[in-house]
């Protein structure tokens, strides 16, 4: 994958046929796992913490619903354009952040399904179909996260990553 154009509005990435098909298939998997309960504090015993935690979990659930919509939008043929030698994906700054969040949600979700292993590269080959599937999803999501961050090279408006 490589960026073919960068301007003040964002980037255009070129993905070869295999990369494009793989990313499209990956985005269709979102969300991998149901909403997990998130903690807002590890130590705070303040009664307000309960209310804050409830708000956090409601907000995260809403956010994931929005990400699901955005994942569908990213797959739109007008956005994810098929060309002769693969695909061209145009993303503005906000869309790139959404894509990164979706990919990382897939990565973390797969890790949860695998039982949250400390070692991400198992010593033996995955034994079950479930392990094969979710190790693959976790690694593919990580590959695309790193590839997009590397290919973007920085914020098109500020010059920073």
């Amino acid at each position: 994958m490589k960026p073919v154009r960068k301007n003040k509005d964002g980037w255009q990435y070129h993905l070869n046929q295999g990369e494009g098909d793989c990313l499209r298939s990956l985005l269709q998997q979102f969300p991998i796992s149901p909403n997990a309960h998130a903690k807002i504090s590890k130590t705070d015993a303040d009664p307000k913490t309960v209310e804050r935690e409830k708000l956090l979990n409601e907000s995260l659930a809403e956010h994931r619903k929005e990400l699901k919509k955005q994942a569908t939008n990213l797959l739109d043929p007008g956005k994810f354009k098929r060309g002769e030698k693969g695909y061209v994906l145009a993303l503005n700054l906000e869309e790139r952040e959404i894509l990164l969040q979706i990919l990382n949600d897939i990565r973390i979700g797969s890790w949860h399904v695998l039982g949250e292993p400390e070692e991400l590269e198992p010593e033996t080959a995955p034994q079950t179909e479930k392990e094969v599937v979710f190790y693959s999803l976790m690694n593919l999501a990580g590959y695309f996260e790193a590839a997009f961050l590397h290919a973007s090279g920085g914020d098109p408006q500020s010059g920073h990553d």
Partner: protein, 102 residues
């Protein structure tokens, strides 16, 4: 109708000290990011730069602290802003919490 030469008394501005003292005692919180084995280092660095507007060097320093020490205190803020940052960090699937600052 008063004459134009009539002296005008301008009231002295009052200094409201109570607002400052009230804020001084408002509780503050540390926004803490905790280590996990799955988030990529490059991704964590990116999120810190994005959310806090940090330069890469500072973001990488905090990312390495999370990686090597298990956690990093990212900022110290009032309740509302600390809560905002925890929501944002968790939207990116980083393990972040707000802990009372003593």
């Amino acid at each position: 109708m008063p004459s134009v030469l009539e002296p005008i008394t301008i009231p002295k501005p009052t200094v409201r000290k109570e607002t400052r003292s009230k804020n001084r005692f408002a509780p503050t919180y540390y926004v803490v990011c905790w280590n996990d084995p799955v988030n990529l280092m490059v991704y964590v660095t990116h999120v810190f730069m994005k959310l806090f507007g940090w330069e890469r060097q500072k973001a990488e320093k905090h990312m390495m602290e999370v990686h090597e020490k298990g956690k990093s205190v990212l900022v110290r803020e009032g309740a509302e802003k600390a809560e905002f940052y925890v929501h944002q960090l968790q939207n990116y699937k980083l393990q972040a919490t707000m802990e009372p600052a003593e």
